[in-house]
Chain length 237, copies 6
């Protein structure tokens, strides 16, 4: 379970920093590849993964009428995704048809969902870009999802942008992209990332003052450690 404390911490760190923390634990492949924010609003997206799995569409099973069925997994998933979760779609990295459009994304936003990610593309992307819900995709894609996608499973483990996404994993998005933190590591990764961020902020200030990175980043000189301790004390971090 994602605690409020961890959620708040993850709002203050970058996907780059989280990548390094995961790399140190042998997890090298948690950054969703080739996915970008439709429009970043400066705040991180954080939430537990709630997933939707698509398979390739067969024409006879994906006529326009299928949406008449209230149990259609795409529509059902949109109504069932918990507030605070991130809705993650496995579109098999295929952006040639949409994964979803502005009406469904608006519904997710109204329902309090924390964000939406697909390794395909969204339609109505200019509208979605203006909504107050973070959204990440590969590229805009106008064709209805029925053209190439069939929604199948709700909240099963999936792949998204070459990354394994297990329901309940903690998904974090910033202006750079989206990373998936395994559920059982979320607390410790958040803690470590907050520490690393403090150090990186300190280093950035020093570098802007003209200091060399040698001995500073990483902190191989004792002086660096002392300076950082002083900085933390001064900044209250």
């Amino acid at each position: 379970m994602l605690t409020d404390t961890t959620r708040e911490k993850l709002k203050t760190v970058s996907t780059a920093t989280l990548s390094t923390a995961l790399f140190k634990r042998g997890l090298r492949n948690q950054f969703i590849q080739d996915v970008r924010p439709l429009k970043h609003k400066g705040r991180n997206m954080v939430g537990e993964a709630f997933t939707l799995r698509y398979i390739p569409a067969r024409e006879d099973l994906n006529r326009i009428e299928v949406f008449q069925n209230r149990a259609h997994p795409q529509r059902k998933a949109v109504e069932e995704c918990p507030p605070g979760a991130v809705f993650v779609i496995d579109s098999r990295k295929n952006p040639r048809a949409a994964s979803a459009g502005s009406i469904l994304v608006t519904r997710l936003m109204v329902r309090g969902v924390a964000g939406i990610v697909t390794d395909g593309g969204f339609r109505d992307s200019p509208d979605i870009a203006e909504l107050a819900i973070p959204a990440y995709h590969n590229r805009p894609s106008a064709p209805t999802n029925l053209t190439h996608h069939q929604a199948l499973d709700i909240n099963v483990p999936i792949g998204c942008g070459d990354v394994p996404v297990w329901p309940g994993d903690v998904v974090v998005g910033d202006g750079e992209g989206v990373i998936v933190v395994p559920a059982h590591l979320a607390d410790e990764i958040a803690d470590e990332a907050v520490e690393m961020t403090a150090f990186e902020d300190f280093v950035t200030e020093e570098v802007l003052k003209g200091r060399s990175i040698l001995g500073l980043y990483p902190a191989t000189e004792d002086r660096t450690k002392a300076d950082f301790a002083a900085w933390r004390a001064a900044k209250g971090r």
Copy 2:
């Protein structure tokens, strides 16, 4: 022939909505893949397709001197494209050399052409982005078109971004991308898309008020139909 009425209607609907209308008629592949606006100005591009076909360049046939020839198909096409048309280039999805640059695009703009699309790339793309003519491409590309492209045919059927484009087809571009509506369907598709847009606008308003998409989108509940009728009456749409 694209009528003024249909042109005006198509200025008010999205490529996503048009995709769905075409999908209902069995046309699943009319959205030009992997092409984007250099800078969207908020208005749709609408016009009949006027095409230019490139083949791979052979070095001896594509020296810098070829542009001295007034009959060079690229230059000829730019002077012949009718005002109100959309200039569509088949660049074989190759953005490694330019399809055109700012001077030619400026000339098209001055001549009243409605827009320009390539499945390759434009050079001088920062300048083109600021022109008052919509332009869509895959990515910026500085090298002269002679490097990889030889202009060959004017106004023949082509492929562009995996989509068939027949001269006279109606090309519509918005902030998402570009779709090609077969000429004989333009009027009925425009009518249907206007209707669909009204419904989608109604649905969006309802969703923003907190209404579930089940029964609403699509309108499987009678109440939805009644609400929509009332909304249309109130809005005069």
Copy 3:
């Protein structure tokens, strides 16, 4: 050696114009493919290439501890790159892990380096976009470079975006992308590009006034040559 005069000239011309000047000399492949500015600030990046070569990472040679080594080529290169140079990284067109992050790029900026280019991706890309140093990459990439890259050689000839980059070549970046001018041609290419730019500016003005491109671009009519001479006299160019 890049002279100040040539450097200043190259700040006033586009990569598109430079591409054409190189094309005329039989150099068809100097524009770095599929690389874009993180955020273009309106000024050209110009400098001599200082290179860094990556090879694929082997896990045992690329643990997080390797950065403790002051001689690590990535860190060493960042401290050694001359002010005024452009730092160019051969990332084998692999953006799945970062080529560098904001701290190193900040250090380069503070040291007076003219810009940075990779055919991979940067991490902390939103921060880098806001720095006062031009940066070009394929796409944002949060994972630490150790994930897929091992820094190996400093200032050797490399490939970047399918282009040969020899140390000392003159690298020019604008809002469109990055081009590599062989060192021995820099002066003459700069001269020619300045001349071409004057002509293109003249042509653009004429086209905006409504003049046809036939006879104008290229200047196959005597009238064009006369008009251009008059324009130059009037403009003092």
Copy 4:
């Protein structure tokens, strides 16, 4: 249920002919893309699809020890796949690690399974090529599947080579590749394909004798229909 009659018919027709029969019914996307036989032995592979779904591997969940678990889905699936079925693996079109190796494929063969297909690659591919079980993949791949794949679900609908594969669909492979016939159409498609094959054999003979394809293929001339009727009578087909 795949009947013996239909199975036998499908052994005598090509994936090309089946593609056309499916195309006539609006099913345009049933041929598994970019998959080939390791070594074709001249007989068709025919059987009902039994599926295995992979997602990207997370390192901590895919250590070498996981195979100690008898319930590991890859091993479990190999023991559960019914004799006569075709084992189809969704490897997300990723051949960078193996989907399976010769020991598992040998076990499938011994158990009477009709064939195996992956849109990734097999390891021990030279050995598998010599086994008496048809196998289709993208390319050889030595790395253990744990490197990039995690076996997850058994006998759920999957994608394979961009094609939807539903458990029970009838999978047919020949020297060209693999096609997926929806279960409910298997009988009628088999019947039609047998008819089409007779006609194509007749046409081939006529063409070899020097007859033009015009009027012959398709049979738009009455003479063709008469000749074919005579041929069928003579051949007893």
Copy 5:
């Protein structure tokens, strides 16, 4: 016009040697990329290009019935291609549907056509592989061409595998692939390639005897020139 003399010469040289001869004349892009023989029979394919252009298929224009039309460009082209020519298809490098199948290729063979090339794929590829006509494609592809291709133009300039192919260019295929020799250069390229082949055969013999390539290949030592002259005299070449 391809003379019999030149045709015979081109049957004795490799596409590699022809590539070099073209490279010396500044033609760097005449080898059709990513195309291979279905089954090489040890003899070169040589003939003048006769072309067929495909564009992406629009569903309503490519129903199965279109082949009833005797004027359908694919069928018409097969009947019109001159004996001795090579039939080259521009399939836009898309092998997801067939460019042609065994019946049409058989018809071309019977009509005396010298070979067939597509940058897409053939259906019935195991049958085509056994025919006595050289055929080159990207990969086997069972789906009917109507699925993704619309035959449009006969004998116009096209692209095939990124190479410009002008009707009448001389197309040569061997076990390695296919190269396109511009018509006006065919005689001189054939002559030069025959000379180069003699030298390469001599060099190969010398290398097999243990001689170093330095001074031998290229013939920078006088001794090499003398030895080659003696070899030619002895061999009568």
Copy 6:
């Protein structure tokens, strides 16, 4: 240094088995991707890596005359590669021009080199396929290497097919592909692979007799261990 003992052991094991042994040590990326034997002759290729690095060719530096220079790195490398080594070329995964041709490969063969690998393509590939030296590439490629490649460095660390190759690493090729064993691990990996191969051979025999893989592979049942011990005793392995 590769000992004779280790070399002989590595001739008896597969790249698949070696992949697993490396995977157990955390090395997940040592199998060269998308490279295949031109024609496998049934024996493994084994030798220490001797490398050649290519960068993209610049036209003025890669005219046909450059081969007149005896110090040209491609020619020099071919004469300097030690007998028993494997010649590995970094072609940046670009098979659009050749990495080498039959004359150079013949020279390597005569000099006793153990094999040749490129992540690009060979020209004269049908001839190379028949030589008594193992050769691996991506696909045949007739154009001279000067078209896209410039040979630069001899025996430096390189990337080949996304794998790091350090001079002296032990390169093993079989019918499946090529794997790179870090030099310091060669002995222990060879030992372990020989052991694993014995077990896999035992397992294969058992599976062919009808035994389930559960408990057998891996050997989680005591009975398996006992049976294997008996098998080894009987077989003398």
